[in-house]
Amino acid sequence: MEKSIITMNKEEWTEKYRPTKLKDVVGNKKAKKQLKKWGDQWEEGEPNNKVLRLVGPPGVGKTTSAYALAKQKNWQVMEMNASDKRTSFIVKKLAGGAAQTGTLSDGAQGMRLVIIDEADNLHGRSDRGGKAAITKVLKQTNQPMILIANDEYDMSRGMRSNSKKIEFKNPNQPEVVRALQKIAKKEGIKAYKNALREIARNASGDVRGAINDLQTIVIQLQVLGKEKLRKKDVTNLGRRDRKHNIWKMLNHVFRKNDFNSLKEVKRELDPDITPDELLHWIDDNIPKRYNGNDLFGPMKHLAKASIYLARVSTSGNYSFWSYASQQMTFGVMVDKPKKSPPQYNGPKMFGRLSKASSNQQKQNRITRKIADTYFYSETDAKEQIPYLSQILENNQQKAVELARTLRLDEDEIEYLGGDQEIYQKLQKTNEEHQEKQENNQISLGDFG
């Protein structure tokens, strides 16, 4: 029923194929081994280190591994985000009472793993009470806990000294290729190995980035009707140091408030990216946690930036570029509701636009036919499409007749959600019609 006009929002492969077993997390052999050992220790009683901290760059499997371990050990998981105000409340409460089995495991059977993600971004750095409370909980806990962070030096000292470090590193190129191959296979995509190698090389160990790139390229290819992914299709990918700089920029915009260092990052990045593109990086990586009126501060500036970009394109005057790019960086930084880690996705705008244009082509053909048949303007004809598609999906007899009246072809019938039978019936009645006409001619001939 859903399939008709809305081709379902494509799921993100990074989520769809997030490994659920440690052995499927590529690279990071040492880290995985340490993690597993720690997990095993819990089965033999309380280990010396009850708290781990997983530290490493974005998109290499930290969060994934923590969850995979819990799953393998059959532990329940309670995830908290350090930058969420509630976390510090919960933790304080825990610290007050016993951070022990009772509260943390919620009375449930078995173990419960507490994951504190983004531990380098504890809500309100000045929240001393919160910090102290967390430290206390880390000291007291008799349940497994994992802290996760990109940058351990942004963690509080209490967190560092009360946890054992496991370092995550960027997997090497063949390892990333392995992850890509798996996904390509599951998606039924024919991809040449050198193409995947190129994507991996470009991503320099950022697995999430590589998977996102793969998905973007595949969508592009599908729009173009190509079946195989070749090395030459892997172009236009941002270079990895460029990407690195973009992330640095996003971090500065959303996570910090330092005018001078943002200026520095921006200066490094500017030659590599047009404000047009940067806009979409920022727009699509607004922190998950902003919602409601929180979004207004950043959006105000992004909207202004869009207007400047529009002026560039209508007037050809490129001096508006610098206004645009200042709005979207300094503007957003200053007017964000709170510090919060950005998301790390490539911009989705390209995918949106290509979906729009492939839909548009099909819609246009149908619209023109409706307009021609019924003496409608194309704009009015477009309004008819959703209804038409409902009828085609639900009433075969009527569908066949409408398809004939509108002279719809097989593709168009399918786009409107009709099934193949409609087209077959349509052809059959067409043939009958023709036969009848031929018969008529013959009989006329006989008598004439």
Binding site: D294, E378, E401
Partner: protein, 363 residues
């Protein structure tokens, strides 16, 4: 079997069930032998296309298609030049315009190459070619309908002044638009203007009642009210919904069916997005609009129109309502500043509606 909206179109001006006065007057003019050039104004929900259909049938009879030409100016100008150059209908005008330019350069001995034909030049050529062609059969004239004529450029409008005079004996022009202000004065003075308002709720209900009776569809009073509420009293949308539900084999239409269907065709995305934003669920609300813009290819103009209607119908205090409308006007203005190229519009417009939706979210 066809769509109900099609089946129940008046097959002549005497059958018109909305805008009867205007239809009568036109009928008289036609029987006296002369249909003037027309400007027909009205919003989308004024059901203009029914009146146009009635005019064409009255003038030419059943096979009116041979003698009318129509095009959507809005669609033409929001299509990329590259696409138009390969468009089955418009392609030839690009080359014809170029030939014509060459001829003129030759004639006056101008040492210049004809260069690439612009969308505007090709469209002028199109208008000229259509205006020149002779009527078919025993008719004295043809009808040339320009839908969404608001989008005609000044340049084209000016060239129409002469064209209309030159071919007025064989071609009658009908300009369809929302408000005649967007046409230059000289064109307005050449035409007879008909303003169509939205049919009243009573008229719509009466007609829908008649149709459901004839089609043997059972719909009770409350359900009909609900239907009109969901569609903002839009006659065509209402009739289409009845049509779909009937095609699904429903003899008796229930309120639940209507709700379910309006969800399926994203008719309620407009309302839901505003309601979500007002609840602080801004991201959900943005997603609903992304779906309309990037999957259904809804135009921003329609988005704003629908939001305006939605806001009018919301049960919230009038201060908040005023605020929402005011901010919507700002959004409208901002969108006007975007480049006309549809791709660019889609690319840059997103942050604008994101800003709007977050601006109406509670602090």
């Amino acid at each position: 079997m066809t769509l109900l909206v099609e089946k129940y179109r008046p097959k002549g001006l005497e059958e018109a069930f909305f805008h009867k006065n205007q239809a009568n007057r036109l009928k008289k003019q036609i029987t006296r032998g002369k249909l003037p050039h027309l400007i027909i104004t009205g919003q989308k929900d004024s059901v203009k296309q029914n009146l146009l259909n009635a005019i064409a049938s009255t003038v030419f009879g059943k096979n009116y298609k041979n003698n009318i030409e129509y095009c959507s100016v809005e669609e033409y100008f929001s299509t990329k030049a590259k696409t138009l150059r390969e468009h089955p209908e418009y392609q030839r005008y690009f080359s014809e315009a170029k030939e014509e330019k060459k001829r003129i350069y030759d004639k006056y001995n101008i040492d210049k190459r004809a260069g690439r034909t612009s969308k505007e030049e090709a469209f002028k050529q199109y208008i000229k070619s259509i205006s020149r062609s002779a009527p078919v059969g025993k008719n004295d004239y043809r009808l040339f309908v320009l839908f969404e004529a608001d989008r005609l450029t000044q340049n084209i409008q000016n060239s129409l002044r002469r064209i209309m005079e030159n071919y007025s004996s064989t071609t009658r022009y009908i300009f369809d638009l929302e408000s005649s202000e967007n046409l230059i004065e000289p064109l307005r003075s050449r035409c007879y203007t008909i303003n169509l308002s939205k049919p009243t709720k009573r008229e719509i209900k009466k007609k829908l009642r008649q149709i459901t009776k004839e089609e043997n569809i059972d719909i009770d009073e409350d359900t009909l009210e609900a239907l009109l509420y969901v569609t903002n009293h839009d006659y065509l949308d209402s009739l289409n919904i009845i049509d779909v539900l009937n095609s699904k084999g429903k003899q008796k239409i229930q309120i639940e069916d209507i709700k379910e269907l309006s969800k399926q065709i994203s008719l309620n995305n407009y309302e839901k997005s505003i309601k979500n934003a007002l609840k602080g669920e801004t991201k959900k609300s943005i997603q609903l609009i992304d779906e309309l813009i990037y999957e259904k290819n809804i135009k921003y103009k329609k988005l704003i129109e629908e939001w305006r209607k939605t806001i009018h119908n919301l049960s919230i205090d009038s201060e908040t309502k005023k605020e929402l409308i005011k901010k919507l006007a700002t959004l409208d203005k901002e969108i006007q500043q975007l480049p006309r190229d549809p791709n660019q519009m889609k690319k840059l417009g997103r942050t604008l509606y994101e800003k709007y939706l977050s601006s109406i979210s509670p602090k």
